[in-house]
Amino acid sequence: MRIFSLVAFALLLELLLGPPSAAFAQTQNMTSWQVTRHVDTPLTQAALNVAFEDANRKVRLDNEHCSDRPCQLNIVQLGELGTYGSAGDGGAFIDNESRLEAAFNAPGRVSVVTSIGYCGGEYNESIIGCGQCSGGNFVVEADSGGHVYVHEFGHNQQDLLDCGHRNSCDNNIMRWQINSQSDALTTSECSMLTGINAHEWCGEMIMLSEPEWFNWVTCPIYLPPDGPWNGLFVTKPFDEWQFRSGMTLTSNGEFSTPGGLVYMYSNSREKDLPGLRLLENGRLGIKNGGQIRFD
């Protein structure tokens, strides 16, 4: 049996950063956030792009440590990075009720400031995010990671944990304390964030007819060489397949897409995820019972 190893292409980065095509956008759940920074808070568009990329990765990938479900949600920036406040007015430091209100009232959903010391009646100079409970705004410190954005967006959603936290596992993104490894979401949390839960594939033999467009493979896929498929697996354009680390695709046939991109990638926690992209009319052949293993 020949084993093929995937080479890292950083295709996932392209997937997340590139503007979606019209077809891709139609099949994706998207949430658009307008972002403003206080005029005295240094934040570049490039740094904001990094935060959005991180936020997208956090919601979409499976966290194997905690009970997690990949969540298809495309978080995009609405418009350009704006500013609010006036130079020297002190509003870059959220350390009293008045300034917090000003940040929440700034245009858009997200306000970025230099420092947060006050949030909802409590005071702690090491706070890094503050969200309106069931409201339309949240505030984060400049240089916050994507997990902070998603956590505070979670507090904006009505009925998501009653504006509370889920502390059952260290890497829950809605835990009361989170870190850069926090990315675990339940199916209900995904839905409340306006995302779509990935369709889970599991089974030694999978007969694929009309696959869901966002698939999460938790068991190896076997394409039988005989029978109606003759080892040929055809999937729709712009489908997305996320393989849990260690899963395999075994066949004596071909994997193809008839007329558009199909993304296949492992949910490895590495930054530049290895991925496979079948281009238009692309075909991938696996012979003699070979495997592709997604690590």
């Binding site: 130079a87 420092s115 956590h151 509370g164 502390n167």
Partner: protein, 229 residues
């Protein structure tokens, strides 16, 4: 002899059941606790109870972090933790840290510098007169650091933060100082932009009269009391 043995057993029992407050933990254990707490980002802020439990032996280790430029993104956590320990050994080093920078500073550094009055306010909860002296000076606009941050006025910033520090002391001296600020500065408070600080300080001071300190510093304190799954 029997009485001697009984007394010895009693002493051993007292030491055993008193836990780590009497039995000194190893330096490596303390450093590990500090690292786990301070060298991480806390979306809702450093946990007051966890920081307070570190005790004064943690102060030298924390001060080393403040001297390590590679860890500046965690300096604000370090300053807050030094405050939450609420021991006067940290007062002078914190004030030195506030005046240790010259010229324009970056975001990570200014977060830590501007957190010093809050930390001093926490130390003032033990009644330290030097801490209150610092905070009164700060609230009256007499702190003159050598650093700048963009268009921000550091003197006004530290004045507001000092008002907050007086409040979080939870001490009668802190409330009295806030009273004097309002009485003496009056209309100047609005002009100086301090009115909103004083309003928030009053709210915090009022809460500290009836609620535990942890409830003021950690928004999830009451939630964790019920251990929501």
């Amino acid at each position: 002899m029997r009485m001697y043995k009984k007394l010895a057993a009693l002493a051993i029992g007292v030491v055993y059941f008193s836990g780590t407050t009497l039995l000194a933990q190893s330096p490596s254990e303390l450093e590990a606790r500090i690292e786990n707490l301070v060298l991480a980002h806390h979306i809702h802020g450093i946990d007051y109870l966890e920081a307070n439990a570190l005790g004064p032996n943690a102060i030298p280790v924390l001060l080393e972090i403040l001297e390590d430029e590679s860890l500046k993104e965690y300096w604000v956590n370090t300053v807050v933790t030094l405050g939450f320990i609420e021991h006067s050994n940290a007062l002078e080093p914190l004030i030195e840290f506030l005046y240790s920078r010259e010229g324009e500073v970056g975001v990570k550094t200014v977060r830590a510098l501007s957190a010093v009055p809050f930390a001093v306010g926490c130390i003032a909860s033990n009644g330290d007169p030097e801490a209150f002296s610092f905070l009164r000076n700060g609230a009256e606009g007499h702190l003159q650091p050598g650093w700048t941050f963009g268009a921000e006025d550091p003197v006004r910033l530290l004045a507001g933060k000092s008002a907050i520090g007086l409040a979080v002391s939870g001490h009668p001296q802190g409330r009295e100082a806030l009273d004097r600020i309002e009485q003496q500065r009056g209309a100047l408070l609005e002009d100086s932009g301090l009115m909103s600080y004083v309003a928030t300080a009053r709210m915090l001071a009022s809460r500290l009269e009836t609620e535990p300190r942890a409830a003021i510093f950690n928004p999830s304190f009451s939630e964790r009391q019920g251990e929501r799954p």
